[in-house]
């Protein structure tokens, strides 16, 4: 029987990106014992990739900003499918969470009078994103990491979690293995916070790293937690398209915020051709007005390049399909053109967008201060996730909490840029606080030894099959191809039905996956262990997208291209049925309180 090394905590946090670290810090501050388990080394989580900034209505740059405007922007961006309580808390608490980061050592760019500088971003009415050049995520994770290591939390680096343990319906901990030695570990805990991020690796073209296999979603789903809004996968409009090997790597929205424009192969700024009614009032009607907006003119309206991500991604997709794309199947994103408006534009670009300059120079041999970039949509973010209580972040399973990308609710049908980093700290903090409270007021649950042994045996089975089994890498590639082709930016029923059939076949192959070598740092084994999570989330995305027979936010159905008022009043909830199958249902939205309704009306 496989041995487990055993650890015991009050609160176990799974994931050490922004949300996980913030939750762990909060829990540790309340005096409970905290364990953190992460798949990578500490400080390497995907939060480091966040570039543009953290949205908070500090009103440092434009004093007309307030939580009310931020709230209304977030709801509009989410097409009103958001959990309005989360959108309210987020808008109210984000400024405090940003100031907290500064108190822990984060060094944001400054205004002339020495306060935190804020920049424009898509869907935000006023300059709202606190930032550090274009490496805000790195600043944030390092700040949380360097603060966190002195709070007494114990960190288990490079561990994969295989299952959550439950005892009479409530969470009892988690089990998994360390990737370095391949030995099993049991983390017993009174409360568990999931902060495992998204699902980008279910798709072929993605800005996400290998970690983003939807583990948290699958872990929660398997123990009966409800998932929500799984059909809403954000395709970021601007990923690199060339060279092939870096296809999907993110090109920050900050490029457009600083004045970058999108053009097709005919040189036309095609974004001016299609401006949705919801945003007509707020969008510039000339190139000249758009430029003034990016340079801080308070009376100018934003250029159409800064419309919401779902819309920009679809416009790019349309240009490419119509044959007006670039040689490598994207469109042009041009920041170099600002030299016609700004003296010393080269230095300006290098100072404002240092990582972008570096990234293109090194990976594509291209100088963005001189030439346009080629960009196209890339799978970027999961709006959906574990359905949680807006205040406490607890899921439908007692003691199981979720924060950050793995949780659903804040972003509705589409997330605004910059609202992700603020989501991490606002709801990471809440999840940590409420998980600690739960842990204090509940005794430790009992660990089911049989469940533990069954998990370990299943994890080791691929070694017995060896080379006669299926290649785990190949199954992953095939799944990514299928999801990209059949459940991507433009969806239709017949293709999604084919996707479901493919997923069923991949599942059968995954049941016979085989690996070679031993358990020490065996990437083949790790890939095999991630397959189940990828398959669960892929199926959930597909089933939810099939059920929602309308186009809204990130979901675009070719067969149902319009919005449907009835669907505008419902979320889709996915859960495991008693027979083990996946159950998908329509769930009415909670009514919006009158005072929030009034805010939305006022800002329309």
């Amino acid at each position: 029987m496989p041995e487990f090394e055993r650890f015991s905590y009050d609160v176990l946090v799974i994931g050490a990106g922004g949300a996980g670290l913030r939750a762990a810090i909060e829990a540790a501050a309340s005096g409970v014992r905290v364990g953190v388990v992460c798949k990578s080394l500490l400080g390497k989580a995907h939060t480091v990739m966040a570039e543009g900034g953290i949205a908070a209505a500090l009103a440092n740059v434009d004093d007309r900003d307030s939580w009310r405007v931020h709230f209304a922007d977030t709801m509009r961006g989410g097409q009103y499918l958001n959990n309005c309580r989360m959108a309210e808390l987020h808008a109210k608490e984000a400024p405090e969470c940003v100031r907290e980061l500064e108190a822990w050592g984060a060094l944001f760019d400054r205004t002339k009078d020495g306060r935190i500088l804020q920049r424009n971003f898509g869907g935000h009415k006023y300059p709202r994103l606190a930032h550090v050049g274009d490496r805000t995520g790195l600043e944030m994770i390092r700040t949380l990491q360097d603060h966190g290591i002195h709070t007494g939390m114990e960190v288990h680096m490079e561990c994969t979690v295989l299952g959550l343990l439950v005892d009479s319906g409530r969470v009892a901990g988690a089990c998994g293995y360390d990737r370095e030695k391949g030995l099993f570990r049991l983390w017993q805990a009174n409360a568990v916070v999931l902060a495992t991020g998204g699902i980008g690796r279910a798709f072929k073209i993605t800005s996400n790293s290998w970690e983003y296999t939807g583990d948290g979603l699958a872990l929660a789903y398997r123990v009966g937690a409800e998932l929500q809004d799984m059909e809403f996968v954000q395709f970021h409009p601007t990923g690199m398209v060339w060279p092939i090997s870096v296809r999907g790597i993110l090109v920050t929205e900050g490029v457009r915020g600083e004045g970058g424009v999108l053009r097709n192969s005919e040189g036309r700024r095609f974004m001016f051709d299609d401006i949705p009614d919801l945003y007509k009032e707020q969008t510039a009607d000339s190139e000249e007005e758009g430029w003034r907006y990016t340079q801080g003119d308070r009376n100018a309206r934003r250029p159409p390049e800064l419309l919401t991500r779902d819309h920009v991604a679809r416009c790019i997709n349309r240009e490419v399909k119509a044959g007006r794309g670039t040689p490598h199947g994207g469109v042009f994103l041009d920041i170099a053109w600002i030299k016609t408006h700004l003296p010393k534009s080269e230095e300006h670009i290098k100072r404002k967008l240092p990582s972008m300059y570096h990234q293109f120079k090194q990976l594509a041999d291209l100088d963005i201060t001189k030439e346009p970039m080629e960009v196209g949509p890339t799978t970027h973010y999961m709006m959906g996730g574990i359905r949680v209580d807006g205040d406490s972040q607890m899921s439908s399973v007692p003691g199981l909490f979720a924060a950050g990308e793995v949780a659903a609710g804040l972003h509705g049908a589409n997330r605004l840029g910059g609202n992700s980093l603020s989501d991490l700290v606002v709801f990471g903090r809440r999840a940590g606080r409420f998980a600690a409270e739960f842990a204090k007021s509940n005794k430790a649950a009992t660990v089911d030894e049989q469940q533990l042994q069954a998990t370990a045996s299943a994890a080791l089975a691929p070694f017995d099959r060896g080379l006669s089994g299926e290649n785990p890498y190949q199954i992953q590639y095939d799944l990514q191809d299928a999801m990209q082709d059949l459940v991507g930016i433009v969806r239709t029923e017949s293709e999604m039905l084919r996707a479901l059939e493919s997923i069923r076949q991949f599942r059968a192959r995954a049941d016979h996956v085989g690996i070679t070598g031993n358990r020490q740092y065996n990437n083949g084994w790790h890939t095999a262990m991630d397959l189940d999570s990828l398959l669960v989330v892929s199926e959930a995305v597909t089933r939810a997208a099939l059920l929602r027979k309308e186009s809204r936010g990130a979901q675009f159905r070719e067969d149902f291209p319009s919005k449907d008022a009835e669907w505008g009043r419902h979320n889709i909830v996915v859960k495991r049925s008693t027979d083990g199958g996946m159950q998908v249902e329509k769930r009415p939205l909670a009514p919006i309180p009158e005072e929030l309704k009034a805010v939305i009306e006022e800002m329309k």
Binding site: H46, A103, L107, G114, N523
Partner: protein, 245 residues
């Protein structure tokens, strides 16, 4: 550039290992990590490699490529001579776990020995501070660090002399510099630098600065100013004179 190339990869564990050759097709625009992934998926399923973002932002895929410490994700094949085998080894300064993966946990333990950030009292009643961009920029250079530990890998004090227990290495000296020069920080780490972190072991060969993928001017901007602070506090002849009097 399409064609094929040979990668001579070190395979082994703490007990020992050897180089093994893999021939794999290569395409235009590929980086070393792409080739390693291709080999892993097609020929060596259990080849151990650590990576994450694949965009030079997380600092996970550090290795020695043809003897040079580099990030595998940022090393393009068209900058290497593919007529010869490309030699891939794990970083030498850290204990090997398997193949290209090393145990870098020492860096995380050593970081904990550095006194944490301690800000002065807020300037304003809402708990915030005023800072000027110029003051912030000086420290932002150090905060670009992605913790790839390539600078630790080439540091002679660690690589040749194995002074891991006495010396924190360039990465963590940069970390101390970021704290010491932070406009808000009021903690004093100068005596620790001398006595606990042994900054004197560094003889400024600048090897660390040369391998930094973020182009942080490690020696000139971080280590030398810290050495100066140590000298000011402990070796100032005037101060010593006053001390004697």
């Amino acid at each position: 550039m399409a064609g094929q190339a040979t990668f001579r990869i070190w395979r082994g564990d703490p007990a020992g290992g050897k180089f093994q050759d893999y021939v794999t097709p290569v395409d235009e625009g590929m980086v070393v990590l792409d080739a390693v992934h291709r080999i892993q998926a097609q020929q060596a399923f259990d080849l151990a490699v650590r990576w994450n973002c694949k965009a030079g932002k997380c600092g996970s895929c550090s290795a020695e490529i043809n003897g040079m410490p580099k990030l595998m994700c940022m090393t393009r094949l068209n900058n290497l001579n593919l007529d010869m085998p490309v030699i891939l080894e794990p970083m030498h300064t850290f204990p090997v776990i398997r193949d290209l993966v090393t145990d870098v946990s020492w860096n995380f333990r050593a970081k904990k020995t550095i006194k944490e950030f301690r800000p002065r009292s807020p300037d304003l009643p809402d708990g915030t501070w005023h800072m000027q961009q110029a003051d912030v920029e000086r420290v932002q250079e150090f905060r670009k660090c992605i913790e790839c530990f390539l600078c630790q890998d080439v540091c002679h004090v660690l690589r040749e002399h194995h002074k891991h227990d006495e010396f924190i290495g360039p990465r963590l000296l940069v970390h101390v510099a970021a704290l010491e020069m932070h406009p808000l920080d009021v903690e004093d780490r100068v005596s620790d630098l001398r006595q606990k972190h042994n900054i004197g072991y560094c003889n400024i060969t600048t090897c660390c600065r040369k391998v930094c993928p973020e182009s942080i001017t490690i020696t000139e901007n971080a280590i030398i100013p810290l050495k100066e602070r140590v000298v000011d506090q402990f070796f100032d002849p005037l101060k010593q004179l006053f001390h004697i009097i």
